[in-house]
Each structure stands twice: as structure tokens, then as C-alpha cells.
Amino acid sequence: MSGQAVPADFSEHMLDLDEDEDLEVFSKNTSLADGSPMPNSPSSMVNQYRLEEDEEQADPNNKDIFITVDNPESHVTAIETFIMYRVVTKTTRSEFDSCEYEVRRRYQDFLWLRSRLEENHPTLIVHPLPEKFVMKGMVERFNDDFIETRRRALHRFLNKISEHPILSYGEHFKAFLTAEDLAPHKKQGPGFLSRMGETVRAVANSVRGLRSRPEEFTVMQEYAENFSNKICSVDRVTQRIIKEQREYLDELKQYSPTYTQWVESEEDLAEPLKGMASCMEHCGKETEEQIHHLSDSLLPILHEYVLCAETLKAVMRRRDNIQAEFETKNEALLSRKGDQEAGWQLQEEVDGLADRVELANNALRGDWSRWLSSMRTDLRSAFVSSAEKNVEYYEKCLAVWESFLLSQREESGEQKEGDSS
């Protein structure tokens, strides 16, 4: 994969961290791995970093890493109770010492991984994690449905990361998948505080010091806003449909017994009435299945993309911040004329920040189209699957009623023969 040629990890320029020894460090040497010099102009850099669509649509036959998340188990300690998930990795990648790993991870560990990934790649779009807890609809954290929904989301999260041409090659990701004990990898250092500061700045809507945002990023920003609105609406409508379906099912469950009760006082009508009640019970079961599909399959995907939309907005803000930092320093440089020594130092800093802006923009550009394509695939398949499920629902109900009708027509056919004989 071409990902290996891309020096995308520029953490040290970003947040002034003291790097850990085992973190991959990219030097300021801006030449590509194969020795050819890096192009200077931003637009030509785009070509280097743009990832081709068909590459990103990882051909399953070329996939060299397979991850599953399963087997949630309750863990009880003196202080707390939490769930541990089993994470199994099978891979042929050379940077892995073995081809199979099995570790146990808790939700907090996933949170750690994601925050490291975001720190290290502030303008890449990192797939979101399921939320800490859901306000509506869930009663307790350890409800079976909740755990299962979360497990599936965690599974999707790791697979999304593993499919990402840059993120899947990070040290943290590798450690997450392979280390028996994550604790040594979790040493935060000052980075933690910086991260907090970064978060605070990221939250502010308007970024101070930003002069003019390039048109392409404004377009992205607007799309992110609009997409967020739309996907939230779709999510809400879906929730509403589930609610209405549940209420419909409740009433249906009251309705079919009225036919059964009526059977008791009838003779000739008893049999068709029983048939009706039975049809309705069957349809009720199909409705239940349909509801399950909506809430277990469609809704979680929609919800993930609601969170993705938030990630997009955060990424846009971070990019703006990077540009703002550069512009602020640059202004300071331009207005300062006197001291030559200090001037050169400032020039160096400004150059560094300028590079940072370039790298950030390029990373974002590349990841943007990859993300759009991935979103399209995911949502398309989710909607197609739901539509299929609805067709199935109606097909099954149709069969039930048709067989009832057949039985009634057979009966009346027999009756007619009986009358005429």
C-alpha cells in the first residue's frame, strides 16, 4: 500500500510533546522515502497525498489484517465493574511479530486509542466510538442489548481504523491490538494537558487569528454542517419510526385476541376466526423482527454517522487552528523589523508552522474524499439492507394472508359441493 510512503505522522510539530522513545518519529527531513525530493508547491503536494478511491475501497482479497471484537465479559474489582471485550487480530503484515493476537480491552482503552490517533493526526477523520452512555432508551449500562450494540460499534471502529491507509500503521494501533498490558503505553506526559487545551480551543466556533480560509475548506466546512443536519434528521426520523412501530405492535397484540375470544361463541365462524387471529399473530412477529432490524442494524449506523459529522466539524476546526497559529506568528514576524537574531528564530518558527499547515491541509484533502466514499458505501448498504428487510416483511405477511384465503376458499368450495349433493 502506498501509505507507507506518506510521512503523515507529524505529531512533534503539532503539539510540542515530549515524544516517547517508542513513538515513531518523523524527522523534519522532507524527502520522500524513496529519496525523491518533496515537491514544493501545495497543489502538487495534493497529488502525493491523495489516495486513490479504488485503493481505499480495500479489495477484501487484498486485506492483510482482520480484527474481531467479541465475547464481552463482566469484570469485577474492588472499585468498579466494567466489561472487557476480546479483540482478536489476524494479520500478515510484517511489522507484526506474530500473525495472530488475542487481547482483552475495555471501553476506556478504545477511548485512549482514539484520542492518541486524533492527537497524532489532527486533520485526519478518525471514525467515532459509540458514546459513553445513551440518554434515551437505555436504562442501565449493563443491559444486554446495550452491550451488544456497543460491541458491534467497537468492532466497526477497529475495522475502520484498520482499513485506513495511514491510521492503521501507527504504533498506538499496533500496541492496542497486541500488548497484553496497555498500561505502559498509556503514559500521558504533558501531552495530556496540551490535549485539553487543544480541545478547549477546538470547541470555540470562530477561530481567532484566522485570516482567510481557502475556498475548498470553506466548501468542506459547509458540507460538514449540512451533512450533520441531514444525518441528524434521518437519525431522528428513524427513531420516530421505531417508536411508532412499537406502538403499532402493542395495539396489534391487543387486537388479535379479540378474534380468539369471539371464537368461543361461534360454530361455523369459529374456524375462520381462528385463522384470522393466527394471521395477525404471525404478522405481529414479523413486525417485531422488523423493529429489531431497524434498531439493531440501521439506527446504529446512522448514529455513527451523526458522530462522524461531529468529527468532521472538529477536524475542520483543528485545521483552522493550525492555519491561525501560523498566521498569527507570521504577522508577528512581518511587523517586527528590528532585532535580526530574534528575527531569524522567528522566521524558522514561521517556516515550521507553514509546513505544518501544508501537511495538515494535504492530509485533510486526501482523507476527505476517502471518507466521503466510505460514507457513501456504508449508508447505501444500510438503506438497501433496510429496504430489503421491509420487502421481506411484506412478503412474509402476504404469504400468511394468502394461505388463510386459500383455506377459506377451499372450505367454501367443499361447502358448495356439500349443498348441491
Partner: protein, 432 residues
């Protein structure tokens, strides 16, 4: 529902219509035919009218056009214009009340409901609502067809006048004096009394009518709630239509697929209106039998009443005969105040006793007549009532079975529409 007017109607029945109140003379019809064989009956239109009511207040009401056309056996291609009369709902009620009083042994077909009951959310309960008026029109036509195809009811001349004479009909009805009977009937039917030996079959039928009413009420209520919820499910999908449309505007490749999928969602949401309107027809069929149950119950109650009156009359006759015996023999068997006063104050004079004996004999003669009458009344009611209840049961089984089949047909149609819409939507999503 009742047979269409053009079809062959109910099979011929007994010829014992002589003496039944109000029956047309035999010169006017063939033996054993029903009115429906001789004429088509339709309720074709509804119109709003304004007028002054009984207390001189302005009111708006709906009138229905009742059209009749004789079925001329020999006239091929000879299609005369129909006779028509305008009738309002209260006139139908009047006709039905007359029939109930005049033929207490018949399970008289019910009218469509006076006010909309078991409505689900969307349906208006307003009597002036066009949907309600339309369904009422259908119900009134159904009522007339049922009555005109009934072996007994169809011969009634008041019915014939109702169908053919717009003006003066009301006066003719009132002239029959049925109103008085109607009042006393109502009083009697709502009174409580104990019957010693009711006909078992009638008691079972009465019990059945109660059960039928109860089951149908519950069913109709539950159906209305289900309809309400189903409406909600379908309509919410309309929101998908709106959102997909808006979303498609910000997308490039995904736009077309989303947009067209949205259209199918709108179509899905709109389809529920027709589906539920058809289901109302099913509900109406059940409602008819809900009201029929009342009519059935009334026949049973009438039996209880005649039986009770017979028992009372018999009881009265027995006690009169006992009085006669006492007077004749002087032996007092039963306690009576007169007996006590005699013991205390001495017996009466022989002439007085003679007079009293004569009186009692007269009363006994009267009483025996009464018992005879009541016995006949009771027996006739039982005989005719049983025939009609049997006829009703067969009609009910046939009609309700058909209604259930129609319901299944509707469900099948709804499922097919659903398959269509979602298959189309899936095609659109694949293009996203």
C-alpha cells in the same frame, strides 16, 4: 353485505302471510316473492337541506335519494326512468321503528349508526363530513335491500309507501297507530320481570346476542386503535421523503438515488389513506352485525314478555278458579282477608255469595279467553321468531365469513403495495 338488487334474492319461504299486519294483498304479487325481485332499490345521492324543525328552529340536515325501478320481466331494452323520493335519516328511523313494533318476531335489519362510533383518530365524527355521509348512504341502501329481500318484511305496505310516496308517508305511518304500541313496547322491554318457563332456545339466543355484542365491540375498538397506529407508522415515513430530498441537494453522486428514494417514501406515506378507507368498509360490515345483535336480543326479550304475560294470565286464571271453588264449597283453602273477616264477623248472606260467584265465573270466562289469546300470541311468536332467528343465523355466518375473506384480500393488497414501494426504494438506494 346484502345482495345487490339485481341478483336473485333470498329463497322463497312459507306462504303463511295471511293476517300479518300490513301485508300487501296477494293480487299484487306472486306467492313467496320478495319486493326485491320486483324492483331495484338504490340510494343514489345525498344532499344538504335547510328547514325549520319541530320547534321552528333553523336546521341543516342531509336527505338521501331513494330510487326504485320495477324489474320488468318482459321488457328487454325497456328502461323506464326510476321513481325517486327524498328521505332523511329520521324517516328511515321511523320506518324501522314501525317495522320493529309491527313484526316483533323478526330480527329487523339495523340502520347505519346515528353517530360515528369506534372512530380512529383521523376520521371525523361530524355527521356532515362527506366521508361519513357517503358511508351512511351505503348503509341506508343496504338497509333497504335487506328489508326488501326479507320474506316477511318485504310485503309490508308501509315499506312500499316509503319507497314510492314522498309526501304524506309520515301521516300514513302514524295512522297505523304503531306509536302507542312502540311506547308500551319500550317500557315493557326495559322492565325487569321473572319468567318461569322461557323457551330454552330463545334464552340461548339472547345469551348469544349479548356475547356477539360484547365481542364485536371489543374487536371494533381494538381495530380502531390499530388503524390509528398504522396511520402513524406510514405517515412518519413521509419525513424520510422530506429529509432525503433536502439531503440530496448537498450531495453529488448520492443525490439522484436519495431524491428518488424520497419520492417513494412520500408515496408510501400517502398510500395509507386509501388502505384505511377500505378498512372502514370492513368495520361497517362488523358494525351492522353489532346492531343486528340488538335486534336479535329484542326478539328474545319479546318472547320473555309474551311468555311472562301468559304465565301471569294463567296464574290469574288459576287463582280465580280457586276463588270459585271456595265460594262454591265454602272451604277456604287459601288465606284471604275476606276469609278472615268472615271468620271474625260471621259469614255473608247466601244472596251475596251467589252474586260474587257469578262475578267470578264471568272473570274466569274472560281469563280463559285471555289465556287462549296469550297462548296463541306466545306460540306464534316462538314459531315465527325461531324461523327468523334461524334465517338470521345463516345470513350472519355467510356475511361475516365473506367480511373476513374481504379483510384478508385487503391485507394482501396492502402487502403487495408495500413490496412494490420498498423494492422501488431499494433500487433507488442501490443507485446512491
Amino acid at each position: 353485505m346484502a345482495d345487490d338488487g339485481k341478483e336473485e334474492s333470498v329463497a322463497t319461504d312459507d306462504d303463511s302471510e295471511t293476517g300479518a299486519d300490513g301485508s300487501l294483498s296477494n293480487t299484487m304479487m306472486e306467492d313467496g316473492s320478495t319486493l326485491l325481485r320486483r324492483m331495484e332499490i338504490c340510494v343514489t345521492e345525498a344532499e344538504k337541506r335547510s328547514g325549520k324543525n319541530a320547534v321552528s328552529m333553523q336546521e341543516t340536515f342531509t336527505v338521501y335519494l331513494v330510487e326504485t325501478r320495477p324489474i320488468d320481466a318482459s321488457g328487454e331494452g325497456h328502461n323506464p326512468a326510476p321513481d325517486s323520493v327524498w328521505r332523511r335519516y329520521s324517516e328511515f328511523e321511523l320506518l324501522r321503528n314501525y317495522l320493529i313494533v309491527t313484526y316483533p318476531y323478526i330480527v329487523v335489519p339495523p340502520l347505519p349508526e346515528k353517530r360515528a362510533e369506534f372512530v380512529w383518530h383521523k376520521l371525523s365524527a361530524d355527521n356532515m363530513d362527506p366521508d361519513f355521509v357517503e358511508r351512511r348512504r351505503v348503509g341506508l341502501e343496504n338497509f333497504l335491500i335487506r328489508v326488501a329481500s326479507h320474506p316477511v318484511l318485504s310485503n309490508d305496505k308501509i315499506l312500499y309507501h316509503f319507497l314510492t310516496e314522498e309526501h304524506g308517508w309520515k301521516e300514513v305511518v302514524y295512522e297505523t297507530g304503531f306509536q302507542a304500541k312502540s311506547d308500551s313496547r319500550l317500557r315493557a322491554l326495559s322492565a325487569t320481570f321473572r319468567v318461569r318457563n322461557p323457551d330454552k332456545r330463545f334464552m340461548e339466543m339472547k345469551h348469544y346476542s349479548d356475547e356477539l355484542q360484547s365481542h364485536l365491540s371489543q374487536l371494533l375498538r381494538a381495530r380502531a386503535r390499530v388503524a390509528d397506529r398504522l396511520y402513524g407508522v406510514y405517515k412518519v415515513h413521509g419525513n424520510y421523503g422530506r429529509v432525503f430530498s433536502e439531503w440530496s441537494a448537498i450531495e453529488k453522486e448520492m443525490g439522484d438515488g436519495l431524491q428518488s428514494a424520497g419520492h417513494h417514501m412520500d408515496a408510501y406515506a400517502a398510500s395509507i389513506d386509501d388502505i384505511l378507507e377500505e378498512e372502514e368498509h370492513y368495520a361497517d360490515q362488523l358494525k351492522e352485525y353489532l346492531f343486528y345483535a340488538e335486534a336479535l336480543r329484542a326478539v328474545c326479550r319479546k318472547h320473555e314478555l309474551t311468555q311472562f304475560e301468559l304465565e301471569m294470565a294463567s296464574q290469574d286464571l288459576i287463582s280465580k278458579k280457586q276463588q270459585r271453588e271456595e265460594l262454591a264449597t265454602g272451604i277456604v283453602r287459601t288465606f284471604s282477608f275476606k276469609g278472615m273477616t268472615h271468620k271474625l264477623f260471621g259469614q255473608e248472606a247466601p244472596e251475596q255469595r251467589e252474586a260474587r260467584l257469578k262475578l267470578v265465573e264471568e272473570l274466569i270466562a274472560e281469563g280463559e279467553e285471555t289465556v287462549k289469546e296469550k297462548t296463541i300470541e306466545c306460540e306464534e311468536h316462538v314459531e315465527r321468531g325461531w324461523v327468523d332467528m334461524h334465517r338470521f343465523k345463516e345470513q350472519k355466518d355467510k356475511d361475516l365469513r365473506e367480511a373476513l375473506i374481504n379483510y384478508a384480500v385487503m391485507q394482501i393488497s396492502m402487502c403487495k403495495k408495500g413490496i412494490q414501494v420498498w423494492s422501488n426504494a431499494k433500487e433507488c438506494f442501490l443507485k446512491m
